[in-house]
């Protein structure tokens, strides 16, 4: 499969803090990726650099084999509407869509119109007067209707109610089925989008901590629950990433796929196995990594990754 984006040793330093720390990965074409991580982990900074909106301190970026900076040929094949996107002061939603139509060669107006209906977007209000959810809807509509070969969705569901979120996920799947393209969905809510993702990139403290196919990691961890001593006996020698206890009962998350033999042992010992959701796996793995590693540079959690001034 060919590569849409290639990133090598990408670093972004802001005076004291390192927002993105020696990050390398490649994004394959026509795949839905999840760019997952906590707030301030570096997701928006990475996406800004990939779209030449922000600049790397060091490292290489190649989009369709070229560097995106001041490269209209490449930039028009990408769409990145950030979570805190600013629009022209007097702009109505139709102005934003009208402009997107001018700049994105694959723009589908029929799709945009349909989405406006489904999201019940008020077309007579200026964008700056829209609610948070309606503002997100504008971004989602631009992202979906642009049909750009590489589309970034930056925390797209902020402010969207549950119904609107389902509309987004459903339309995304539907449109991706008919018009496959590279989609990168950044999120700090993992479980909701987990089933949409073919691959996950987890970024924590500016570093990539996980770069895998979703299917490969779905069964990579398990919760062993039961009487504490029995649990400890079973997990001895395995990598434990999380431990909880209530009285004599423990719930321990172990890494490693369980074999049939393991299941037999567990049944015999009277222990229960409960599944670990993708979100739990990622959260616990990153927590575990943070606990074992010594504290490095300061948390860039308060950096406003997007707009600076």
């Amino acid at each position: 499969m060919s590569v849409a984006i290639e990133v090598q040793h990408l670093t972004k330093r802001y005076r004291q803090t390192v927002a993105v720390d020696d990050v390398s990965f490649s994004i394959e074409k026509d795949t839905i990726y999840g760019l997952l991580g906590r707030n301030g982990a570096g997701k928006t900074t990475v996406m800004s650099m990939l779209t030449a909106q922000n600049f790397a301190t060091s490292g290489q970026i190649r989009v369709f084999g070229e560097h995106p900076y001041e490269n209209a040929r490449v930039l028009q094949r990408m769409c990145f509407v950030r979570e805190s996107q600013k629009y022209p002061d007097d702009a109505l939603p139709r102005h934003a869509f009208g402009t997107a139509r001018l700049f994105f060669p694959n723009w589908d107006q029929a799709l945009a119109d349909r989405l406006v209906d489904e999201f019940q977007l008020p077309m007579k209000k200026t964008i700056k007067k829209l609610s948070r959810g309606q503002l997100s809807a504008v971004g989602v509509i631009i992202g979906l209707a642009s049909r750009a070969e590489i589309t970034f969705f930056d925390e797209p569901y902020l402010g969207l109610d549950a119904v609107a979120r389902q509309i987004f996920y459903d339309r995304l799947i539907e449109d991706y089925s008919e018009h496959p393209r590279t989609i990168i969905l950044s999120s700090h809510l993992i479980d909701e989008v987990a089933n949409l993702l073919e691959r996950v990139l987890v970024i924590d403290g500016g570093r990539i901590v996980l770069d895998e196919r979703t299917d490969d990691i779905r069964d990579r961890a398990a919760n062993i629950v039961g009487e504490s001593r029995a649990v400890d006996a079973f997990v001895a020698g395995r990598e434990v990433i999380h431990r909880e206890s209530l009285g004599r009962v423990s719930s321990v998350t172990v890494l490693g796929t369980l074999s049939a033999e393991d299941h037999r042992q567990l049944s015999a010992a009277g222990l229960d196995v409960t599944p670990v959701s993708l979100q739990q796996l990622i959260v616990r793995t990153t927590q575990h990594a943070a606990e074992s590693a010594p504290a490095t540079t300061g948390e860039p959690a308060d950096i406003d990754e997007g707009a600076l001034r």
Binding site: T51, F55, L75, D89, F103, F104
Partner: protein
């Protein structure tokens, strides 16, 4: 080229900035000037600076051209060069329209002998020395000068921040005062004024082209590294 034209269309989304407010400022200045002239009980020539107002407003246009539209243009995948050229093009078009309005206003003013009041807003002799075309160029370049100054300030602010902008403006002011002081020391005010007078309004306007070019160039460079 078409992408650059699309930048123009994108800028013109800001109806208030480019169309309504300039019209309002112009209309307001015009009405106020006429009202004042009507009130003053004099048959003599009345000249006012009302025409200046929309030109000064182009300073604001310059600032807003960057602040309101640059972040959105980045989301649309527009390169910084396309944005720069397209925005200046938009300014040129609107400055051209404003200048045309001024010239037409001047012609009417001339024909009506100062709106029947001997009151002069648009047709100022020293501006119209080189005829209506000269006046057009003068007003056009003046508007572009103000635009460039506003755009330049906004770009410096975006790229380097408030502190640096203030420092640079201060440095420019100091340099300007320094030049004045040197002229004073050399007792050169006479020759300086003579020379300024000899240039005429058109000549001065063309010199401002140099300043516009400098402002444009020194806004393009920081723009290339500006983050939306």
């Amino acid at each position: 080229m078409s992408r650059t034209l699309n930048v123009v269309r994108m800028q013109l989304i800001n109806r208030n900035t480019y169309i309504w407010i300039p019209l309002l400022v112009l209309a307001g200045a015009f009405v106020l000037s006429l009202a004042l002239y009507a009130i003053i009980p004099s048959e003599g020539i009345k000249v006012g600076g009302g025409a200046q107002a929309p030109l000064w407003y182009f300073l604001v246009v310059g600032v807003q051209a960057l602040t309101l539209t640059f972040p959105f243009s980045q989301a649309m995948g527009v390169t910084r060069r396309e944005f720069f050229v397209g925005t200046y093009l938009t300014a040129a078009v609107t400055a051209g329209i404003l200048a045309a309005v001024f010239v037409v206003g001047g012609l009417i003013e001339n024909a009506t002998d100062g709106w029947g009041l001997n009151g002069w807003i648009f047709y100022l002799d020293w501006i119209w020395q080189a005829g209506p075309l000269g006046a057009f160029v003068f007003y056009f370049l003046l508007a572009m000068l103000f635009f460039s100054a506003g755009f330049w300030s906004a770009t410096i602010y975006k790229r380097f921040g408030a502190l640096w902008l203030t420092a640079i403006l201060l440095a420019i002011a100091v340099a300007f005062v320094g030049v004045l002081w040197i002229i004073g020391r050399a007792n050169a005010w006479g020759p300086v004024f003579d020379w300024l007078g000899s240039q005429g309004s058109l000549g001065l306007a063309l010199w401002s082209l140099v300043i516009i070019a400098v402002l444009a160039a020194t806004s393009f460079v920081p723009l290339r590294r500006a983050v939306p």
